[in-house]
């Protein structure tokens, strides 16, 4: 049976000689295929005397097992080496950067406005909007600012050539939206009104004639000034962080009484004025056919542009309207 013993050695040599998987398949066919010596020997078993058959068959099977083992391990080695050469060929330097996929950027005002809206939505408010061109009724009179009132001068209103002189204007605050909401909706009311507002301020590093505000309005039974202070505080924590504190200082607005400015604390211990607020003036409620003996409420408002300017420490607020792509793409 030395033939067969040699066979294992030959197969070992041949499989090591095979340098590719294709070659190895040929080797496999040669030694294990239908016409291989091993198969022929197996077929020839019947011709052996009965007492030799068992041993011979066992030997054939052992050798077959050896050869299969040889080929399979060689196959594994060859496969490994093929992957490795493929990987070597495909090697890429991942630091050769072509820059990121182009994406667009939301304007900073939109980002801040969305974030502010979301805070108030979380507090149960809905978001309402209104026209940017308004009548004197909505911008002033309904807000308890009669035509002779000194506060009218403070609004630096931009008027447009529609209707009677000074009857139609670009809204100087988003408060007209509050009036429109109170006129059209029964209390309770929990809203915020974000949007564009206008003043005759020449554009400079800290002023724009067109800017953005967000105002809040709550009308419900038993609403107090304590509720106002608590709401401002809760908003300040949600938007600026738990460590930031708020305070109210007496101020004056014709549409609220008592009125206040609200400040937020800075890390250096100083206070920064953020906006105005107060308890909705009974005259404003009456102007909207809401009975001030039954309903009470508060309102607050502040500038979004200033907030953005502070947060990103813009050195010139005009960046927000110039729309230089190098600016827009930073955020």
């Amino acid at each position: 049976m030395s033939d067969l013993e040699n066979l294992a050695n030959e197969a070992e040599e041949a499989s090591f000689a095979a340098s590719t998987l294709e070659n190895l398949e040929q080797v496999q066919a040669q030694f294990l295929g239908k016409k291989s010596k091993l198969v022929l020997a197996k077929k020839a078993l019947g011709t052996l005397p009965a007492e030799d058959r068992a041993n011979a068959g066992k030997e054939i099977n052992e050798i077959k097992g050896q050869i299969e083992q040889l080929i399979s391990s060689r196959k594994a080695a060859l496969q490994e080496s093929e992957w490795s050469s493929k990987f070597n060929k495909e090697r890429m330097d991942l630091t050769e950067r072509l820059g990121p996929i182009d994406r667009g950027h939301l304007h900073l005002i939109t980002q801040a406005r969305d974030e502010l809206e979301d805070v108030f939505i979380g507090m149960g408010y809905s978001v309402v909007e209104g026209p940017e061109v308004e009548t004197a009724w909505y911008n002033f009179e309904a807000l308890n600012i009669p035509d002779w009132h000194p506060a009218r001068g403070n609004f630096d209103t931009i008027f447009v050539d529609l209707g009677e002189p000074e009857e139609v204007m670009l809204r100087s605050h988003t408060s007209p939206v509050q009036i429109r909401t109170m006129e059209s909706q029964e209390p309770p009311i929990y809203i915020v009104a974000p949007g564009r507002t206008f003043r005759t301020d020449s554009a400079d590093a800290t002023h724009l004639p067109a800017f953005n505000q967000i105002e809040g309005l709550v009308i419900d039974k038993g609403i107090t000034m304590g509720d106002l202070a608590g709401t401002i505080d809760s908003f300040v924590h949600a938007f600026f962080g738990e460590e930031v504190k708020s305070r109210l200082r007496p101020s004056y607005f014709p549409f609220t009484e008592p009125s206040a400015e609200f400040d937020i604390s800075r890390s250096d211990g100083s206070w920064l004025e953020l906006g105005g607020c107060g308890m909705v003036h009974p005259n404003v409620l009456r102007n909207c056919n809401i009975d001030p003996e039954v309903w009470q409420g508060f309102a607050f408002g502040f500038g979004i542009d200033r907030l953005v300017s502070m947060r990103y420490q813009l050195d010139d607020i005009r960046e927000l309207v110039v729309n230089d792509a190098r600016f827009l793409r930073q955020f």
Partner: protein, 801 residues
Amino acid sequence: MKVLLSWLKEFIPDLDRDPEEIGEKLSALGLAVESMEVVGSELSGVVVGKVLDLRPHPNAERIQLVDVDLGNGEATQICCGAFNMHIGDVIPVATVGSILPDGMEIAQRKLRGEVSNGMCCSASEIGLGDDSDGIMILSENDPDREWDIGGSVSDTLGLESDILWDLEVNANRPDAMSVSGVARDLAASLGLFFEFPMDRTENPKAILEAGIQIEIEDPTLCGRFLVCVMKGINVAPSPQWLQNRLIHLGMRPINNVVDISNYVMLELGQPNHTYDLNKIKGSRLGTRRAKAGERLLTLDDAERTLSEIDGVIVDGDDNPVGIAGIMGGASSEISESTTDIIIEVAWWDPPSISRSVKNLNLMSEASMRFRRGADYGTNMERALNRVVELLSETCEPEISKLLEAKGNLPDTSPVGVSNQRVNGLLGTSLTSEEMMDLLQSIGFESQELISEEEDENSSPNSFKVNVPSWRWDTQTETDLAEEIARTFGYERIDRTIPRGPFTGQLSRFQKGRRTVRQILIGAGCDETMPMPFLAPGDLENAGLSSTAISISNPLVQEESLLRTSLMPGQLKIISYNQSHRIKKLKFFEIGHVYLPSDGGPPLPDEREYLSISIAEGDAAEIVAILDLLSLTMAFPNTQLKQQEIDGLHPGRSAQVFVAGQNRGAVGEVDPRVLRNYGIDGSVAWLELDLGSILTGSFGKKKYKSVSKYPSSDIDLAFEVPVDTSSASIAGCLRKAGGTYLKEIGLFDSYKADAVSEGFRSLAYSLRFQSDEGTLTDTEVSELRAACITEVEKKTNAKLRE
């Protein structure tokens, strides 16, 4: 309003708090501190100098050489950049080695070859007011004074170290437009004693017959009119201490009569006016409404044309000698030769003065106080007596009795306050006694009501409050609630959070708009937000109608129109960015446009538009973004209708229809428009009336089951006339393919020699699939044939074999 610590102390003798603490108290009272500074600190080395000679600097045009006598009789040369002094003037000079209040150290220097031995100072440089316009001429108002040349400027001017606060005073605080009013609030919040020290001075004896008549013709315009005549006045410079205070508070000293008038206004908040008695005709002062067209030359040397809105003070000939509550006339102005004067203290109706200020566009220190509501009580007499007192310190005049005329004054009946309502508004639990004490501290007297009085709202009042005459603005319970809250301290109110009955959320429109933004930034577009103003010509340059709403009071012509399209603004942004060599410009904007409305309400037809612009982009690219939007947002039935549109390339523009409504335009901007805006290359453009689309139906997506059976793909190419749209071919294919046509795509479009003149080749790939079973080859062939037949029957396109 500016206040000095030393002046406040005259009203609060025990005021000994730290300036920082006083500042915080003032802010907490609603008198926000805008700035606080130390003034009049020791000026060592700054001396009184006399100008001996002025010579041009040989090497510098903007500098002159000044020889000053610093007390030793010798000329000391100084180089100076100001030219407002003359030989003989007395000026402050900072000598070598001195340190100015702002920290500047004075050294001997050489300027372009000339030695400078010190510095001539402006008023602001020695810490006296804000005037930095030229060198301070000490001798300007007092040429006859004996000056201590070489002496200390601090001693000469009587400068003392003091604290100056600049306070922001709100429109509802007429009383705080004076040092005494600020002091009253401050004393209340600190629990300190407050007094008017001048009330302790005995009024001078009236020995003179006034000899004039006064009369109020319009009692709603003028509530009280007080006058006093003084004879034997010597018009001269004011005492230096008084000048210093005026300068610190931002006013310019003129002469004793004018300065004292201003001083009393700042001190007591009572504007007052002095007339030269001998220039008032007919020995009479009256007040009435002006007649339309009446003219008056005012103190600022401007001729004013009045109307019935304005009030006037008139003389015996009924000619105006002053505008009520705003400014006096030039004809009776105090001059150096004035010896006899009339002092007037009046109370004018705030709304009348406010309207007049607006009508004349004329603001003054007086009108600022009158329009808020000056004190109509005994403070008027106090102010008049104070003017007399201060003038009597500078000369020895004879004085008349006060004359008074009365008109209508504000309603002074007490205001009822309900303890329960005030606590309900503030969220406090103060007792009536506590509320009354808080009000008492700022001069509001109240009486508790023992038998409860019911007001018209049948809510029982707890106490009644007499509103003091210096708080014209305070008229209702809510006004008083504010005073209670203010004096109690806003910070002491417990904070609570109301819980509303609602779940907060965005409207469908607002959610849709946010999604549109997200889609567009995903598509690589940067959001822009230009201001909505346009310059004249912007619309015409964009090929659009010039009809737009104009601004009545534009700041600049470039911002004098309201936009009717987002296009001009976007083109300016592209032009700006291209000029800064920025590439790959893909922008979008969502903003309002203001279309003139025909008739109806006065407001414009305001709409919220979306624009997308791609620099160097073509129509196909922008339509692809429109398709992305339309599919993702599920806009119902989005169709393009190719046609010429203003401002767009005539061959590359289409109207966009959503749900059958024209909602905008898409294409490329007309190259002539681009030239007007200085833009290189093309700009692909889309503008939609997003507001209208998102308030209509959108976002409705319906489930369709996915077929389990294999699909078959075929390609079809047609020769299509150039004026036949791809949309119409695709329509035919869809119709013929019916429910079996699952996908259709245009994958090629070209014009080439192989295609007949006037035609182009359009190639579509179609995927057929049945939901019921596998389509047989025969069925697919039949569908293919049906598609070809439908296209060839309905259009002039031919299959390319």
